[in-house]
């Protein structure tokens, strides 16, 4: 066993580690293994995206059929926001051509974790072309002057 191990070159060991790392990365990048809907709460999970600029974090969500006046964005703690909106008309599996499942959906709901410190009380929202934009200003640090 020891002899066998000694025979492997450093490159082989490195390659094995790289393969292992690749496999882990693949696992992490794999899409979530849960559905994008929840029958219990009658909610659909919208597509969401987060981008970070020097000044703000922008969370967007695609909300087709959403009633604009029902859109709510709530800060849940300092690094989590919850987005919800009612859908103009109930959508059932049957509307999507699926006959082997039962259930209807009346709203969108999703949560987005904010990866950097932000000021949730200064949050601004915009809804255009069915896309919700949540702008969260990033917390400012202390300015240090060059002596």
């Amino acid at each position: 066993m020891y002899e066998e191990r000694r025979k492997r070159s450093a490159f082989e060991i490195m390659r094995e580690y790289m393969e292992l790392l690749d496999a882990w990365a693949d696992e992490l990048l794999e899409s979530p293994g849960r559905p994008s809907w929840d029958i219990q709460s009658c909610c659909l999970e919208p597509l969401c995206d987060i981008s970070i600029t020097a000044d703000e974090v922008v969370v967007t969500a695609d909300l087709p059929y959403a009633q604009p006046e029902t859109i709510e964005v709530e800060a849940v703690g300092h690094d989590l926001i919850e987005i919800s909106a009612k859908i103009k008309r109930k959508v059932g599996f049957g509307d999507l051509g699926i006959t082997h499942r039962e259930g209807e959906f009346s709203s969108f709901r999703s949560r987005a974790r904010i990866p950097v410190p932000v000021e949730t009380d200064r949050m601004k929202i915009r809804f255009k072309r069915g896309i919700l934009e949540v702008h969260l200003p990033r917390k400012k640090g202390h300015r240090i002057r060059i002596e």
Partner: protein
């Protein structure tokens, strides 16, 4: 050893046709546009792609099983679409096979529609379409048809591979890139891409129904968009935002 990618023909394949490719990509622009053209022009399923590199999936439509990556056609048009996000690891071999197969069928031109991600997409009412061509002749044709050429930049993903393999084989490839959302299905971008497809090929496709069904398509396309997002990040799709350096 069996072939990694096989195209199984179910019906007679037309010769000297134009081939459309609409694989899931940015904003699902190409997939939505190509699927809509298939439906509007009543193309028949004529072949499918079989590969051990694809996940073990079958799609049921009207109770019958179908391969997720299928090829449709009529007498002068062929269209390839995929109902699943194509895994990055399989992409090179699948695109090479599609180009090889197109060459064997004397395809006149491979035309693919796709999205050009722009950050301010919400503020754009009518997305612009840019075109890329595989040769000087194809660029000339695109200019004659009034298309704006994408002069500098990166194309990443299925369209990039088609372009590369077509250059190798001296086949004509054209990519139409409509300004679109990166991560969200964009039927409006698909509609403007279809208009340019019609301008190039002379085929008439009315996009009114596509625009009317925009919200429904966005709702239905959430799952394939989610799966595609994962593949896009693996293929470093965001490199399309990069500025190329060529001194």
């Amino acid at each position: 050893m069996s072939e990694a990618v096989r195209i199984v023909e179910k019906k007679r394949i037309p010769s000297e046709a134009i081939m459309l490719q609409g694989l899931p990509d940015v904003g699902l622009v190409g997939l939505i546009a190509t699927s809509y053209i298939i439906s509007e022009l009543n193309l028949d399923e004529i072949a499918y792609v079989d590969s051990d590199l694809l996940p073990p999936i079958v799609v049921l439509h009207k109770g019958l099983p179908h391969a997720p990556l299928r090829i449709y056609g009529n007498k002068d048009l062929i269209a390839a679409i995929s109902e699943i996000a194509v895994p990055v690891k399989a992409l090179h071999r699948i695109m090479r096979k599609l180009v090889d197969w197109a060459e064997s069928k004397n395809v006149k031109m491979i035309l693919s529609m796709g999205g050009l991600p722009v950050q301010n997409r919400q503020d754009i009412k009518e997305p612009k379409v840019f075109a890329a061509g595989s040769s000087d002749d194809s660029l000339k044709l695109l200019r004659e048809k009034g298309l704006e050429i994408l002069n500098e930049g990166f194309i990443v993903g299925p369209q990039a591979l088609t372009m590369r393999y077509c250059v190798e084989r001296k086949l004509t490839a054209v990519a139409l890139l409509a300004q679109s959302f990166f991560n969200y299905p964009d039927p409006e971008a698909s509609a403007v891409a279809i208009k340019k497809f019609a301008q190039i090929t002379g085929k008439k496709v009315d996009v009114a129904d596509l625009l009317e069904k925009g919200e429904e398509i966005r709702l239905r396309a959430r799952d394939i968009m989610r799966r595609t997002q994962s593949e896009l990040s693996q293929m470093k799709k965001s490199q399309e935002y990069d500025l190329p350096l060529y001194v």
